[in-house]
Amino acid sequence: MTTKRKRSLFIASFILPTLVLYSLFIFYPIIRAIYISFFDWSGSSENMNYIGFGNFREMYSDPIIYKAIANDYFLIFWKVIGIMTIACFFAVALTRFRMRGASFYRVVFFFPNVLSIVVIAVLWRFIYNPSLGLLNDILSLIVQREVEIPWLGDSRYSLWALLPPAIWAGIGFFMILLIAAIKSIPASLYESAEIDGAKQWKQFTKITIPLIWEQVKVSIVLIVITSLNGSFAIVSVMTEGGPDNATQVLGYYLYQMGFKQYHMGYASAIGVFILVLSLITTAILQRLMKRDTVEVS
């Protein structure tokens, strides 16, 4: 066998097993998801009716879909604001402020990030428990009378109540990304700014933000993508979309349609819709956040 053939064989033997499995478990299901979305199908093979764009038309006139989209974007919006503000503040505090114990805080703040979404949901369900929970206990103490607000059971609060756990569990990850970005800024820039008498806030807006903008962008896009996909888990354990669809999100609605009500075609159409939404949202975000990249000379 020639060396060249040997080399090709080696390359193939290292690439193909992964590619075959990847095609089977990722590429093929993508195509199949699109295929299924054109059918009216309960999941059992006998009655799979081709209905073209029927499922998508049904989505168009399904009020729950609109509710779910609104809720998804509500969560995304407040998660981006909450996570980015807090993570940015702590990242700056732990790098530029030269606080003592910075590495301790970094380790501790990441703690919630290693927890499973189910653990987070169970913890916060208990915090929100109307009669036994921590939150009402604290409120009772403050107002000096019994508070029994059903945070997750009352549609006025339930969607808002999903935000603290989501933000709480997200801070550490993005703080670490931003810390790494800030640390890669040359110290000389800050030194000359200080010689010029620039205060901390000015350094933040004129040096830090422009130079970590790329990382901020990546972080926001990541929050958006993981949120469109990840709200499913937290809704599934905390509220199951209730009360009365007040916390319904597209991901959980997909699950409910497919695996509780056996409308597999409709569920698959929602999945395709989530893909389209996430691509469009990412593209729009990239444009909105376009800002001349600052080159460090």
Binding site: I15, I30, A93, F126, S236, Y255, M264
Partner: protein, 281 residues
């Protein structure tokens, strides 16, 4: 040189916020520990943050382990996490190595294919995955879950590892080839050990993700004897509608969480590096 331009008030406020967030980050786990040692009585008569009564109810842990099957969930999770970790390492390292150090036709396409697949929301795949698992006769089987987990972790690990393999010196490889070593032994005997820090980093990140995975396990495991810890815990939470046993619930929460916290404490540096390396791509 005067470095600090902060006023004492800013520093004080910042310290205060850092301390508050420290409490926020750790306290839920501390009250879980307290609450896992209580009986129902204590939940109803005292406030949620009260310390548990003596004697501490350690039996909640064995109760959850036996009666709520957390022993079996725990074992399943270890199997799934361990198996997926090893398989993911093989699938990822081979592809990353070839993409990093060999030129061949279709290389750019392959790289782009994996990269773009990262933008696919995995929720879109749950319906077809359910049927794929039935077709392959791996529905309700841990082996199917192991295959799926290791393949889903592939692209992200690959991007981190490509950077790693690229940074290794070429001389070692070349001299080994001159000595007549096959490309396989170059990979397994020379490159693999050299890339160990990178391999450990991606494996730790993978272990965290596999241990906690919920979405696919929920769809693909319906037999309670096959549940992993997240599914088992979610199931137990659901049971609380019918019988309230908060002490055991928190014991179950801790059983699911303690191994991952130990791993985090031992490997927090690698986790940190992995996150940064993964997000730069």
């Amino acid at each position: 040189m005067k470095i600090n331009t902060n006023s004492p008030i800013t520093r004080l406020l910042t310290t205060l916020m850092l301390l508050v967030w420290t409490v926020f980050s750790v306290y839920p786990l501390i009250f879980s520990l307290f609450d896992s040692l209580k009986d129902n009585q204590q939940f109803y008569t005292k406030s949620a943050w009260a310390l548990p009564d003596i004697p501490l109810l350690w039996s909640n842990f064995s109760y959850t382990w036996d009666k709520y099957n957390f022993g079996s969930y725990f074992l399943n999770t270890i199997l799934v996490t361990g198996g997926s970790m090893v398989l993911a390492l093989l699938l990822t390292a081979t592809t990353a190595y070839v993409l990093a150090r060999f030129a061949f036709k279709g290389k750019g396409l392959l790289y782009y294919l994996y990269l773009s697949s990262l933008t696919i929301p995995s929720l879109m795949l749950v319906v077809p995955m359910f049927f794929l698992f039935s077709d392959l006769h791996v529905y309700n089987k841990l082996s199917g879950i192991i295959l799926l987990y290791s393949i889903t972790a592939m692209p992200m690990g690959m991007f981190i590892l490509i950077g790693f393999f690229k940074s290794l010196p070429h001389e070692l490889e070349e001299s080994a080839v001159i000595d007549g070593a096959s490309p396989y032994s170059v990979f397994f005997k020379i490159m693999f050990p050299l890339a160990l820090p990178g391999l450990i980093t991606i494996s730790i990140i993978n272990v965290l993700n596999f241990w906690n995975e919920y979405q696919y396990a929920l769809i693909l495991l319906s037999d309670a004897t096959k549940y992993t810890l997240p599914i088992g815990l979610a199931f137990m939470q659901g049971e609380m509608q019918y019988r309230i046993e908060f002490g055991p619930l928190f014991a179950g929460l801790l059983i699911s969480t303690i191994p991952i916290i130990i791993i985090y404490i031992l490997f927090q540096r690698q986790i940190n590096d992995g996150i940064v390396a993964g997000a730069v791509k």
